[in-house]
Amino acid sequence: MKKIEVAFVGNPNVGKSTIINNIAKTSLKVGNWPGVTVRKTEASLVYKDYEFHIIDLPGTYSLDYTSEDVAVTTDFLLNSPPDIIVNIIEATNLERSLILTAELIELKIPMVIVLNMWDEALKLGIDINIKKMSELIGVDVISAIGTKEDLKDRLLESLINTYEKKIVPKPLRYSDITEKAINDILSYCAVPPNKNIPPRFFAIKMLERIIPCDCCNEIILKLENDLKENIYDILKKDVYGVAHFISSSVVKRSFKDEIELTEILDKFALHPFFGLLIFVVIMYLMFKLSFDVSYPISNWIGNFESSFLHPLVYKLFPEAPYIVKSFVSGAVLDGVGFVVSFAPLVGALFFGLSLLELSGYLPRVPIIFDRFVSKFGIDGRGILPFMLGFGCNVPAIMALKILEDRRSKLIVAAMIPFTSCPARFVVFAFLGAIFFKNPAPIILFLYLLGIFFSILTAIAMNKILPKTDNLPMILELPPYRRPPLKIVLNIAFVELKGFLKRAGTFIFASTVVVWAFLNIPPNANIKDTVAGRIGNALVYVFKPIGIEDWRATTSLVPAFLAREIIISSMGAIYSASTKEDYSNFNIDEAFKEQMMSLEQAIKNTALSFVSPGFSNVFTQESNTSFITREIRKSLSPYGALSFMVFVLLYTSCIATVSILKSEFGTKFAVLFLLYSFVLGWAVAFLIYRVSMVLHVF
């Protein structure tokens, strides 16, 4: 079998990852905004006698080193050139896309051009002569709609043909005067040797002053003098000339200069006042969708596990050794089971987030907030990774690559860990429902508190870090697009699968350790077990903030790995510390009861779609198993609030800490962890005391 390595290269947001997902059946991250892919990502597939190794690269406008993600693409192409480059071009924006193509042509690597977004081009009345374009450039040109099934065969056949015949683009010719300068550099200056890339490419980069070259100075100065222009402008004009020439030769456009829908929508979405209003409404809908709608089902699953499956174990296997029963009910059902019960919530949250990303609304948010965030030393672009933090802090920190300077990166990196990710969300939902009649306002308060402290942290960072020049923010705004339902569902499904997998592996393993600590030494009084001792020691630390029960403090220990573990270990700990009598448990009756409450849960879900508020589901009785009763007894509502505040602010997530470490160094990560611990404790203390004095509950 022959192996072909194919790299997908193109401007940002042209559909590279979408096409790879389509042909290789992968689930690479896609979104309707520039800068989704920030790392080189790989996929493979077998077709006929060929094994394709496909590489997705961050989108780029040129082969420079202007920002980190551009450098990823440039470095890759120069250092390990693929067998074929697939240059994805936005058919609606041919002329501008061809600027990059012109640079790629100089690499002399076999190439296939894909004109993606063909559907949008048709709508705009843009007609491209594909045959002529293919003749001009000398390679295959394919029209495409990124998500359509038929693309796979056409693209792969063309790749095989290009590979077998080694079809490279025709050489480019710039204006005579530039060509002479390039040839002069080739004859008189030492071009870096590279067996894969033709010397001419490096000569052009030396002429552009991107590769330093003392020997070129004279040639450059002469050219600048002759044309009375800066060398960069001269070369770019040549490249633009090429792009314009190709595009004007192949594009036939029945140009309707109509105002597009996007422009109308943007009149509101980017308006200083309406924009903010729209933002608030959208956030409300997101919150409503991910929380209110999915909550009844989540709650039901949790209840089913603790009030039905748990007693069932004891009822069906009365003779089984206690240790086995306690493992199954404590670690598996009440532990991991509780975490799993939040799957509908997580699925709904990602469904909402991917709607935001795929519609193209997300990149508008930076513009609305640019003025505001500039007060603390970042530009609006910082909002993008920050918003992604509500999905998961880890990819959000990776997305900092779209910022250009290290100072802004550090500021936003310090903001992200305070955004409420789904892990926090499930802890809030879990405890909120146990302690408060209507937890929605409490959860909203916690979200806002997180945002408040990210801003405060940013202000502090802005004061501490040495000042640098403010760069202008340049951002491309994609047209609004209808999010393809299939892709949105797929993203939600993939995230959900990831969540369940985590629950089944990592969180399960941690819960088993907690459970084991609860049983060492065996048959001891629970307070004398290892877990009991640790928890009791920690009570000293957490007593001032209202967490006085050793079971609650113990659950915080394994939570430094991930916050969801709080729930699973609480399940395990409280279930181990309480002995319930199940002799009266009637399987048939209990099952009937469960089915009735499922019916009610489904009704509530349906109801919450039509009711504007959050309250209707929360006035329903929440999980009433003995474990939740025990949890309710062990903390006061004030203590529970303070517990949630601490969980919100303290970075108890090993994945976040390690990504901070790998991106910004150990010192930053450790300092930040300490800072978040102290901040979390102090704020929890304050809120605990103040809320008690004010008698808010």
Binding site: K237, F245, E263, D370, R371, I474
Partner: protein, 75 residues
């Protein structure tokens, strides 16, 4: 073909970059150029205030915030 000739017939053009912009910060100008905002490109202004300008360059909407007004002039 030089670009200046190629774009003669189009309505709006970026006139040029005010010195402050590119002398102080060549990286910034480079970025604009690589995104298609070159002297001579076809441009439509969609929105402009003291801080924020959104241009339509070719078919893309490009937003430039933070002190654009004195840097790119459109004729």
């Amino acid at each position: 073909m030089r670009l200046a000739e190629a774009t003669q017939d189009k309505e709006l053009k970026i006139k040029g970059y005010v010195v402050k912009g590119h002398n102080e910060n060549p990286g910034w100008k480079r970025k604009l150029i690589s995104m298609g905002i070159v002297p001579g490109a076809t441009v439509k202004i969609l929105r402009k205030d003291d801080r924020n300008t959104i241009l339509k360059v070719y078919n893309s909407r490009i937003s430039i915030c933070n002190c654009l007004a004195d840097k790119v002039e459109v004729e």
